[in-house]
Amino acid sequence: MARMKFICDAERCIECNGCVTACKNEHEVPWGVNRRRVVTLNDGVPGEKSISVACMHCSDAPCMAVCPVNCFYRTEEGVVLHDKDVCIGCGYCSYACPFGAPQFPSAGTFGVRGKMDKCTFCAGGPEANGSQAEFEKYGRNRLAEGKLPACAEMCSTKALLAGDGDVVADIFRNRVVQRGKGAEVWGWGTAYGSKADSKGAKS
């Protein structure tokens, strides 16, 4: 087993936010916390691109490096998880993370910043697999059920891929080779007309 990875295909993502919704529903993520977000570049401009972003489960994770209480750990599959019983909610991981993955629920009585929450690659946390305690703190443990993350499995255009790094890289590589670029892309002629059609239209 290689490392678990996410890849988002910017050519396919249609900013439907299905992944965000799937994640929130699967793990019953509290209000104000988004473990996954869709980021759009050049929003509203023709050619805009969207990608779905969450914790990238870095090989050399900056959050792990800066945590003063050492609450992070990495599983054998390369998933970066943390122990909420150890986390003190200081927010250093949030400053260190280049993807903005760490989230801090502010639903406490006095609006204080709570324990850090982030994408778990649907792998739960250090509580017993499938236990109520694990679900309440970290959400469902789909990996231990033989399933892949809900966000990727729910993606309508299959833009978001998740799983063994080798497998998802192969799927993505094959996809890029098959779809080609520019006028080779499926649907190009329908959308913009082929060269032959445009010549015919002029004459």
Binding site: P126, N129, G146, L161, G163, D164, V168
Partner: protein
């Protein structure tokens, strides 16, 4: 002269005390590593939600199940061709 000697003696005694102050500090290393998680191939023990195509506790069958699921669920090229 005598008072100067006293001051010097007092100052050196204070310096020795200050330099030894750290010896009484308690160790501040982290208490230990965070709790480790059980491997995902050990399953959740909840059969209703577990897919049936792999054997709980068998790492290879679990890994194969995820690979198959990724290909079937995410590789639309292989499904359409």
């Amino acid at each position: 002269m005598n008072s100067l000697k006293r001051i010097a003696l007092f100052a050196s005694a204070m310096t020795v005390l200050a330099s030894l102050a750290a010896c009484g500090d308690k160790a501040q290393e982290l208490a230990g590593q965070p709790r480790q998680d059980a491997a995902p191939y050990t399953g959740t023990g909840v059969q209703v939600f577990t897919t049936s195509d792999w054997k709980t506790g068998d790492k290879n069958s679990w890994a194969q199940q995820l690979k198959t699921r990724a290909q079937y669920g995410q590789n639309d090229h292989s499904r359409s061709n």
